[in-house]
Symmetry: C2
Subunit: 191 residues, 2 copies
C-alpha cells in the first residue's frame, strides 16, 4: 500500500486555483507529528500561511535571494535546473493556496534529523489526501523570520506550497534498488 503511495507521489510545482479544505492539511500534520524525534523533543512547528498578501511578501523575499543564488550557480546543479526550466522565479510561493512552513527548534538534540523524518511522513500524508507539494528551501531566511514573527530558536527548514496538482511533469526516475543497497560491507552483493 505504502509502496503504491510512495511511487505515485511526485514533486508538484504548479497548483490549481481551487482551494483544498484546511482540514486536509491538518490531517496530514497529524501524521507528521507521529514521527520519532531525539529524546521525543518533537522539535517541529508547522506554520500555515493562506493570506494572499503574506504569500506575495514571502515570494518576493525568496525570489530576491534566489536571484543572487542562481547567479552563483555552476556545473551539474545549474544544468539540471536549466533542463527543467527552474529559474529564480518561484510562482508557487504565491500561487499555491497554502504554504506550510516547517520550522525546527535548533536548540534540541537531533532536531534537524527529526524534522526531516516528519517531513517524510508529511509528504506521504499529503499525497494520501490528494495534495501536491515540493520541498522548497529558501536560500536565506532572516527577512522571513522577521515577517512571520518566528522566534530565534527556530530555523526555517522548508516551505511547502500545498494544493491540488496542476503539474503534468512526470516523476523523476529513481535508481534500481540494487544500485543503492550493499550487503555486509559497502559494495557487497547479496549471497
Amino acid at each position: 500500500m505504502l509502496l503504491e503511495l510512495a511511487r505515485k507521489r511526485k514533486t508538484v510545482r504548479k497548483f490549481k486555483k481551487e482551494k483544498p479544505p484546511l482540514s486536509s492539511i491538518i490531517k496530514a500534520i497529524e501524521v507528521a507529528k507521529e514521527a520519532p524525534s531525539g529524546i521525543n523533543s518533537q522539535p517541529w512547528h508547522f506554520l500555515i500561511v493562506e493570506n494572499e498578501d503574506l504569500k506575495k511578501s514571502i515570494r518576493e523575499i525568496c525570489e530576491k535571494k534566489e536571484k543572487s543564488f542562481h547567479e552563483k550557480l555552476s556545473g551539474h546543479f545549474k544544468e539540471w535546473l536549466a533542463d527543467r526550466g527552474i529559474t529564480w522565479e518561484k510562482p508557487f510561493l504565491s500561487d499555491a493556496p497554502y504554504l506550510v512552513i516547517v520550522l525546527c527548534d535548533k536548540t534540541l538534540p537531533f532536531s534537524k534529523e527529526s524534522v526531516w523524518i516528519s517531513v517524510g511522513y508529511l509528504l506521504l500524508a499529503l499525497e494520501e489526501m490528494g495534495l501536491g507539494t515540493v520541498t522548497y528551501t529558501p536560500s536565506g531566511s532572516e527577512e522571513l523570520m522577521e515577517l512571520l514573527k518566528i522566534p530565534e530558536k527556530f530555523r526555517i527548514e522548508t516551505i511547502l506550497p500545498v494544493g491540488y496538482s496542476d503539474d503534468d511533469k512526470k516523476k523523476e526516475k529513481r535508481k534500481k534498488v540494487e544500485e543503492i543497497v550493499s550487503f555486509e560491507r559497502f559494495g557487497g552483493r547479496s549471497s
Copy 2:
C-alpha cells in the same frame, strides 16, 4: 490509513531472535528510494548487515564512543535517558537480526535533508512490514567507515537495527496538533 500506521509506529530497542525475511527489508527500501531529493540526486545508500561477527564489531565500536559521550552528558538530555534506562550499552546493535546503515553522499545538494525524508519513508514502510526499529545515531564513525569499507564521500546518518519487536515500552506521547501549528504568523491561531 497512514495516520493509523504512523500512530501505531513506536521506537523499538528490543528484538526477537526470529529473523524476518530479507525481502521485507528490501521492500521497505523500495519505498524509501521513492523519496524526493535535491536535483533528484538520490544521495542515499543502504548497507544491510546480517553477519554476527560484523554486528558485534559495530556494537563494540559504537559502545566505546557511547561511553565517553554519556560521561559528558548533562541536564534534561541526561535525565531523559536515565528515566528510560538508556545507557552507553547498545545491545540492539548485536541482537537485532539486521542492521540497516543509512549513508548520505555529502557531496550532493540538500543531501542530509533528502536522506532523512527517505528515513521517514523507511520507518513507515518497516512498520507496514511488521518490523520495528530505532534511529540510532553513532557519536563518531571513522572506525565504522573503515570496518565497513564506506567511501569517504559518504556519512553514516543512522544505524537502524531491524527485526520483530520484543519491546513492550509504550509509545512516547505526542503534543496536540494545536501546540505545533500556527496560522499566518508564528503563534497565530486559526480564525
